[in-house]
């Protein structure tokens, strides 16, 4: 058969056009797509640029004053109670001044009252969180919308780099399956599994429903919660009118938990 080069090229071009036509035609002829599902937030959700907490430590005199707050948090988040210190899981707990603020403020020759006052400590939801930089899977991340340092337990591989990176010891690792250590399970919140790291989440699941964090709610006004970047917020007012300190500010992580001492 005699085929000229010109004829062959014409045929090739035509077949290429024919092959590529159907997808193009399909796209052009497609009916306008049905209504798309919408994804959004609830109307009552609380929002902020950077959530922050102010703890008025003057109002906490003894251990019994902080226990209900810790209990409230650990109960709704299904935090297991493990007595063996090395396996312990904690989201919020109390410590002494010298441990909370060593390196930040003088801890020598303290007033006795301050020395024995319980200081609530939790994840500081730093503006510049070192744990987020350490995480190799982005399981822990700083939420752009409101500055909460969140954990995606689905992604956590349990490498514990974040625990090494956190200067506040705010993170705990599940060395054991936590389920047997949870006395009453809150059906509305998941538990964790063996091999993931966990920490305080600033109650983002409650904020989404328009509720304040559980510890703030249980504190009777001793804890305040609000937007750090809103000049008119209650937390800003408190920081402006009181002398406050934060933990380990010299490290430059910019903690968002402020203490009135």
């Amino acid at each position: 058969m005699d085929t000229s080069r010109r004829r062959l090229l014409q045929l090739l071009g035509l077949s290429a056009a024919a092959l590529s036509a159907p997808p193009v035609l399909d796209a052009l002829a497609a009916a306008p797509p049905a209504a798309e599902p919408k994804i959004g937030t609830a109307k009552e959700a609380l929002t902020a640029k950077q959530w922050a907490m102010v703890i008025d430590t003057r109002q906490f005199k003894k251990e019994d004053d902080v226990l209900p707050l810790i209990e409230a948090c650990h109960k709704i988040h299904n935090v297991p109670k493990i007595d063996f210190k090395r396996w312990e899981i904690k989201w919020i707990w109390s410590t002494e001044y010298q441990h909370a603020f060593s390196g930040t403020a003088s801890t020598r020759f303290l007033s006795e009252e301050v020395e024995h006052r319980p200081f609530l400590v939790l994840c500081n939801h730093c503006e510049n969180p070192p744990c987020v930089r350490a995480c190799p899977t982005k399981a822990t991340f700083k939420r752009e919308s409101d500055g909460i340092v969140m954990m995606d337990f689905h992604r956590c591989i349990g490498c514990r780099f974040c625990m090494a990176a956190c200067p506040f010891g705010a993170r705990s690792f599940n060395y054991r399956d936590p389920r047997p250590f949870i006395k009453e399970t809150n059906q509305l919140f998941p538990t964790r599994m063996k091999g993931v790291v966990e920490k305080c989440n600033f109650c983002n699941e409650r904020l989404a429903e328009g509720k304040l964090p559980a510890c703030v709610e249980a504190s009777d006004g001793k804890l305040k919660f609000g937007d750090l970047f809103d000049e008119k917020s209650e937390v800003r007012e408190l920081i402006k009118t009181n002398y406050t300190i934060r933990r380990k500010v010299n490290l430059g992580t910019e903690p968002a938990v402020y203490y009135i001492v």
Binding site: A34, A35, E36, P37, K38, I39, G40, T41, A42, A45, F141, R143, S145, D146, M150, D152, F153, H154, T185, Q187, L188, F189, P190, T191, R192, M193, N204, A208
Partner: protein, 129 residues
């Protein structure tokens, strides 16, 4: 070809053993599982999206929900019909489909799929029968 008979016998034995599951189970196909709906699910008539979509692609929507809720912080999902849902496996899906053993596990076992949702997410308490 001195060992012809041994080779052929060996091959025959090998084939019989390897194909054991096929000839042992011939004509005994396990029927695909029937999904049981709870009364609440029946009353609702329609799931978040159409039944066909949910049956085939529920894992896609669960994955989307997980991503959007955990990472995006957005928790409400409005389907094309305008009905809103809180995106939550334990609290929304399992609220209607509270019969996990008959609804989820049956098919997952049949298809030999082992999702690890329940390592963390809490199953609804077993209904007393």
């Amino acid at each position: 070809m001195n060992n012809k008979k041994w080779i052929i016998t060996g091959l025959a034995v090998f084939l019989i053993i390897v194909l054991f599951p096929f000839w042992y189970n011939r004509g005994k196909a396990v029927p695909p599982p029937e999904v049981k709906l709870t009364d609440k699910a029946k009353a609702a008539k329609e799931c978040v999206l159409s039944k066909e979509y949910m049956r085939a692609e529920h894992m896609q929507i669960l994955d989307l929900w997980r991503e959007v809720v955990v990472r995006g912080g957005q928790r409400t999902y409005t389907n094309p019909k305008g009905k809103s849902f809180v995106m939550s496996l334990s609290n929304t899906c399992l609220d209607c489909h509270s019969n996990k053993a008959d609804f989820c596990d049956k098919c997952h076992n049949y298809a030999s799929v082992r999702p690890y949702c329940w390592d963390c997410h809490i199953e609804p308490p077993k209904e007393k029968s």
